[in-house]
Amino acid sequence: MNREDTHILIIDDNEDILVMLKAMLQFKDYKVTIKDNAHQIENFIQQANPDVILMDMLLSGANGTEICKQIKENPAIASIPVVMISAMPQAEKKCLDAGADYFVGKPFEMDNMLDTVEMAVNGITE
C-alpha cells in the first residue's frame, strides 16, 4: 500500500503532541487526520475510516482505555489497529488489556514511533 493512501487517525487532547506526531508521521508521507477530543469518537472513526488509530491513553473528559474497548467492541471499526501511547505508569498493560494492538510509552524515540505505526499499517504483530 502506498503510504499516501494510508490514513492515520491521531487522537490526543494535547495540541503540541498532536502537531508533533502529525509532523513525524508526515515524514513517512502518511495521510494524517487529527482529533483533539473524544466527542462522538465512534461515529468519527467510522466516517474517517482510518487504517490505524494512534491514541493517547489519557484524554480530557474521557478514558482512552474505555474508548479503546468501545472501538474493539464496535464491529464496524473493531478491525482497525489501535496504537496507544501514554506517559502513565503501567499504562502498557492497561492498554493491551483494553484491546490496544500496540503501545508506545512517552517519551519515545521518533524511529520507534514510526516503526510501530508501520507495523500496525502492515498488520505485523510485535
Binding site: 503540541d16 503532541i17 508533533m20 505508569p89 519515545f108 524515540e109 521518533m110
Partner: protein, 879 residues
Amino acid sequence: MKLNAGNDVIQTSVQSSIVGAGFVNGNEKFYNDLIDNLPIAIYVCDKNGYIQSYNKAAIELWQREPEIGKERWDGATKIFNVDGSIIPLEESSVAQTLKEGKVVTGKEMFIERPDQSRVCVLTNPQLLYDVEGELKGVINTLLDITEIRRSQEVIQENEEKLRVAINATGLGTFEINLLTDEIEYSDRYLEIYGFDKNDRPTRREVIDTLHPNDKIKRLDSFEEALNSGWLEYKARVPLKSGGIRWIKVKGKVIFDANNKPIKTLGTVADITETKIAEEKLAKLAAVVQSSEDAIIGKRLDGTITSWNDAAERIFGYTESEMLGDSIYKLIPEDRIDEEKNIIEKITKGERVHHFETKRVRKDKSEVDISLSVSPIKDPQGKIIGASKIARDITEQKKIENIVSENEHRLNMAVQAAEMGTWELDMLTDEVRYSKRYLEILELDPLKKPDHNEILKVIHPDDKEIRMRALKVALDTGILDLEMRIKVGENKTTKWIRSRGKVFYDADRKPIKMMGTILDITRQKTIFETLRTSEEKFRLLANSMPQLVWTSDTKGNLNYFNQSVYDYSGITQEQIEKDGWLQIVHPDDREENIHKWQHAIETGKDFLFEHRFRKHNGEYRWQLSRAIPQRDDEGAIQMWVGTSTDIHEIKENEQQKDLFISMASHELKTPITSIKGYVQILMKMHQNGNDDFLKTSLITVDKQIGILTNLIGDLLDLSKIKSGNLQLNKEEFCLNEMVNEVVNDIQPTEPGHTFVFTSEKECYLFADKGRIGQVLINFLTNAIKYSPNSTLIKISSGVVDDYAVVSVEDSGIGINKADQKKIFNRFYRVEGKDEKTFPGFGIGLFIASEIIQRHEGKIEVKSEPGKGSIFSFYLPLENT
C-alpha cells in the same frame, strides 16, 4: 481277834492251873516253874495290889524286878495311855479291877522301862479267889503288842498316803455294786461330776450328768469291760457354769467264783486341761507343718528332732531323711563356727533373732536364710535343745540387692543433683543429714545442729506452709514442699524444695521420715523473673497501640494483644474459630497468605502492608512485621509480629505517589513533545550543513534522555514505596537479554567498550524489562564511575542455583564503608563526587528492590582506585 482268842486260852489254862494247883497242893513248884517259863508276862498282886510274884517274861518286859510285897499295881514305874497321857498307877487296869471288883480287860497302854523305852501292852487282869471264894488278889497278863501296833500304824499310814496320793492325782474313786447298782464314791468323784460334797447321787443320776453324745460311749465301754474286765472311756460333762469338763474313767470289774461280775472299782479323772493341751498341741503341730518357714527342732548336740514341710521345701531333705541326722548337714563349711556360737547362746538360755546367713540345700546350692533360734526346755527348765526357724530370704535378698543397687543409684542421683538428704526419727526427734544438707542450710557441721536448730532457719512466713505440707505428708506418706529459708550471717533468703517419705509401723503410726532437699533458689529466681517479665511483656503488649501477635514455628498465630481485639471488635473465641485472616481485606488475603507462608518457610522477616477491618467496618492500612525468635542454635522458636496502623501515612503516600505519578506524566508530556520536535528537527537537518545546529540538537536529545531516566527512576521509586512495583514475569534467555541491552546501549556510549562473555546459557522466569533495567543501571553506573577507562566487562554464568550477571569496570571504586550503603534509598556519597555523579543511589536502590523482589541478591566487590564489580543473582528454581 485270834489274838484275843489265844489269850483266852492261855488265860483259861493259867486260871485253871492256878485254881487246880495253886495254893492247895504241894505241886506248887511245878506250877511256879510253868508260869515262870510262860512266854507271856504274868504277875500277881494281893488284894491290896502289892505285887506277890511275877515270871521271867514279866521281868523281860519290864526290864526290872519290882520289889515283892512293896510295889503295887504294876511292875513298870510309869504307864501311859495310847495317846501318850500318863496313867497314875493306882488308876491302872489292875487297880481299877481290884477297887471296883469289876474286871477291866483289853486295855492297851504303854509301859515305860527304866531305859525310858516304851512298850505297848495289852493288859488282862483277872481276880483271884480262894476256895472259900474269898478275894485273894489279882493276876494280870501283859501282852507285848508293840509290833502289832506298829504294823497297824504302818497300814494306817499307808492308807493315808494312798488317800493323799489319790487326792493329789485329783482322781475321784468309786465302787459300784453290780448286783444292787449301789455306788460309793469319794468327795473328789462328786466334785468331778459337778455334785456338791453333801450330795448323794445315785448311779443313774451320775450317768445323767454326762454329755448326751457320750452316754452311748460309756455304755459301750461298760459292755466291753464286762468281757475284758477293764473299763476305760472319756466323756464330757457339761458344767452348770457353762463349758465342758472332759473326764476319763478307768476301772476294774471284779468277778465272783462263778465268773459273775459283782462290782466295779475305779477312778475318774478331770482331763479337760489335758484335752485342751492336746488340742493346742494338734493346732500347733498343724501350724508348724503348714508354716512358710522351716521349723526345726534339735538337741544341743545338733541332732534333729523335728522337721516340718517348709524345711523340706527350703532345704530339699525330707523329714525321714533328717530326723536323727545332724543339723551340721545344712551348714556350709565356712560357717561351722556360726552354729557353735548359736549353740553357745542357746545353752545360756539366750535367743537368736533374725540372724541372716546361708545354708546348704540337698542339691548343694546355697540358700539365703534368716534364722531365729530359741532354747527348748524340759519341764524342769533345763535346756535340752533348740527350735530353729529358718526363713528363705533368697527373694528378699534379691530385692535387697536391687534396693541396695537402687540406693546406690539414688545416692549418685542425689549427689549429681546436689541434693541434701535427711532422716528424721519421729519418736525421738533425732535427725540425721548429709554434708550437703548442712551446706544448703549453711549450718556448721561441727556444731552438729539438732532438729530445733534446723527448724530455726525456716522463713517465718513459710512456717505455715511447712506445717500444712507435713500434715499432708502424715496422711499421704509423701512430703513435697517448697519453702524459703533464711541462712547464714546475713540471713539470706534461699528457696529449697524438700521432698520426703513417711514410714509407718504396723499400727500405721508414723515413725520415720526420709527425704531430700534441693536448693532451688536459682530456678525460683529465674522463674520469678520470667513470670515478672512475662507479666511486664503482657502489660506492655496490651498497652501498646500496635497490634501485637505471636505465632508458632508453623505459622499458627497463638497470641494477640488487647489492641487486636479492641481494633477488630472480635473476640478471642472468634479469632480462634475463624482465624485472623477474617480481618484482612479480601483483596489482600491471597498475597498475605503467600507472604506469610514464604516467611515461615524461609525464616526471613515478614513485612507486609495490608488492610485490616476495624470494628466499625472500616478498613485501615497496617504495616505488619514479624521477626523469628531463635534459640542459641539458631532454630526458630516462635514469631513475634506487630501491625502498625499506617493508614494516614499510606493515604499520604498514595497521594504523594499519585502526585509523583501525575507529575511524571505531566513532565513526560512536554518532554515527549520536546523530544519529538528535536528528533524531527534532527531528521530534517541530518543532511544539512549547519553543524552547530546538529550538535545542539544531539545534546538536547541526550539531556532529554537523562531527564527521562530521572523521571523514570522517580516513578519507580514511588512504585516501590507504594508497593506497586509489579513484576510481569516471563521466561526468557538471560544471555539474549544481556546482548539486547548491550547492543542498545553501545551506540549511545561510543566512549566505552562493552565486552560480554558467558559461561553458560540459561533461562529465567522473571520480569525481563525490570532485569534489563537493573543491568542498564549497572552499566550506566560503570560508565559514570570509570571516566578514565573504556573497557566494561559483562559476564554471565551459574553459581549454585543462581544465574549471575556481573558488570566489571576499572573505575574509581567504592570504599568498604560505602559499599554497605550504596543500595540504600537516597544514599549519596558525601563529598565533591556528589555533584560529579548526580542521581547516584536511587538507581541502585531500585535495582536492589527489583532483584529482591525476584528473591535474588545483589552484591558489590570494589576496591577504591581499581574499579568495581556489581553482580546480581537470580534463582534458577523459578524457571
